[in-house]
């Protein structure tokens, strides 16, 4: 297999479908990556994640560097072997979680220092250290280290953070290239920043493409700006990034967010929503999300989502899952998470098919009309 080869097999207006070939396997795009925060997609075995159709999952640098530590995972043969997942893994850079979970955070040109949310221990992450951690984990797709600013923020703050992130992106690329054997086996993505501002987004895209990356992420969205604002950014952000490289919208999102982003040219997604919802009683269905704590499901003998191909819908009724949710049974989290991950993977497969058939607009309209959501 090649180190990294992205092929677009078909386009349909701005949407595209294709494949990202890597040493550990091929990622069909548009792709959704389940989040395996602490070396596990919560409540799922690795083989169950694979069975859902996921070609790649995401690991969180922040969580893994704190526990069990990147060095320990490296001594144990890397993250794939540790967690029993042999397909590609994308690791984030840790920047987002440092800002959202860490405390007493200090940012300088060098990098970030922060206190662990778990035990208060102090840690430092620089672009170079983030790349080193991702190399120790054995990541297949390494993300550049960037600085997150919470929106709303004034334009100068957004611009300053974006420009620092671009300097860190260049340092990340250099650190990645200096990673020896690992650099020859993996890929590195830069992350576009700039908030909701088209000019700043354009400046960021130009800086990243000047450095040159295997793929380009769109960062700093899905942080509370709302779907319309997010899709508004995608209307120009995708075009600012190279057409022949994968575009990855980080941390997105709801099914209708994903449909809207695919229509605008995004190729990759990750989000905790299907897994987190699975632990709080929310199931995704083609008729929109339902909450299994609702009394109307206690004697409902139907599956979570009629017509869903997942193993849960083949065997368990809403009545049974409702009982498990109300009883706080671990099996509730297991079944709900499995169904939700399958729902997302089925949606991605349907989007790929629709794009290949030149029917993505019709598919999206029908999906959104039934599911609800503006797209």
């Amino acid at each position: 297999m090649p180190r990294f080869a992205f092929t677009i097999a078909a386009t349909d207006a701005a949407a595209r479908t294709g494949a990202l070939a890597m040493r550990r396997g091929t990622i069909r795009t548009p792709a959704f990556m389940p989040v395996g925060t602490a070396a596990t997609v919560k409540a799922m075995r690795a083989r169950e994640v694979a069975a859902s159709g996921a070609d790649i999952l995401l690991g969180n640098t922040y969580h893994l560097m704190l526990r069990p530590t990147a060095e320990r995972i490296a001594r144990l043969g890397g993250l794939h072997r540790f967690m029993g997942w042999d397909r590609p893994i994308l690791t984030d850079s840790g920047g987002y979680q440092v800002m959202s979970l860490g405390s007493l955070t200090k940012v300088s040109e060098e990098g970030v220092t922060f206190a662990s949310h778990r035990d208060g221990s102090r840690h430092a992450v620089t672009p170079e250290r983030s790349i080193e951690i991702q190399r120790l984990l054995g990541s297949d797709i390494v993300m550049a280290f960037d600085e997150l600013v919470a929106l709303p923020a004034d334009r100068d703050t957004v611009a300053a953070a974006m420009r620092r992130s671009m300097r860190w992106a260049a340092r990340s690329r250099t650190a990645f290239d200096g990673g020896g054997e690992h650099a020859g086996r993996s890929a590195v993505f830069g992350i576009q920043q700039g908030g909701l501002d088209e000019a700043l987004r354009g400046e960021s895209a130009a800086a990243l493409t000047e450095v040159g990356f295997d793929g380009y992420a769109i960062g700093g969205l899905a942080v509370g700006e709302g779907q319309a604002a997010m899709l508004g950014v995608l209307d120009f952000a995708c075009d600012q990034l190279p057409a022949d490289r994968p575009r990855y919208l980080m941390g997105v999102g709801k099914p209708d967010d994903i449909v809207g982003a695919v229509l605008r040219g995004v190729d990759m997604f990750d989000c905790v929503l299907p897994t987190r919802s699975g632990r709080t009683g929310q199931a995704f269905t083609r008729d929109g999300p339902i909450n299994l704590r609702n009394a109307k499901y206690v004697e409902d003998e139907g599956p979570l989502d009629p017509g869903c191909p997942c193993p849960v819908c083949a065997t368990a009724s809403r009545a049974y899952i409702s009982h498990l949710v109300r009883s706080d049974e671990i099996l509730a989290a297991m079944l709900m998470t499995e169904h939700n991950v399958w729902f997302y993977q089925t949606l991605m497969a349907d989007l790929r098919t629709a794009i290949a058939e030149g029917q993505v607009q019709a598919f999206a309209a029908a999906f959104l009309a039934r599911y609800g959501g503006a797209g």
Copy 2:
């Protein structure tokens, strides 16, 4: 399939191995029944329980009558359909949990009233109501309703509770026989009581055999009396019960308890230990139990129990599971429980083979020498 046919294929001193044929499947004995308290073996899918080699599982009348209620399960087609388990299910009578989990409990000749441990709501269970609940659940093996006394207790208290339990056993049998179609498809077991007293145990056995049951349980043990006292009771209790009927030691136990009881002629067991231990970081191994929170496992690349045939030992290292346990990940409970249930089923399979080959004494000695425990 017959309603209920117990065949002893081989004996080895007091130990026996055979099969209990029922409409929903054959139970190989000696058998261990995983506990599926609230219509789920905690942290396991029904198909995963089946894959471990379990021919039967146990459901708790007390929990199910409170939530989701027996009537709801009946409306949904019975417990098998509800939880997706098509092999036999044994239900307890609720008596033990009423005494151990209920509060404000009042016992009269008629039955028991108590307050739910969950919401304080008041409920009544009589022998007739217990049998009705078990029929509504669609139980394959129905247990007579009995009265539990906590040990130590004076002989008069133990005797009075035993004699009341024997009157309740007769009422349970009558209620079972009046259950119409269900009685023709299922079996009913009586429960011997009498504490640690040989004469009272003998009186109880005589009363039960006078009524006549499909099988006989040994109740009131594993309540703190210690292994030596428990095995001391089994030394006479098994012989007091009909040799051609299955003997079921309720709520037992540790692996070494089970080996000791099988040597004395017990055919069936249930216990929460493998599943509960799986949620607290304890794994069973042939070298004795180990706690995965112990620091010595954090970089141990070996499986939980070398040589174990379970799917967990085939894929996950102690180091990985140690990380999951420390991270309070749901996957820790899933993998630990699965391994522990396989450990118990493998032990039962090994015991069956050893008895069939006339080697059970040698097997038990070797197992206990390695595992630890008096047997």
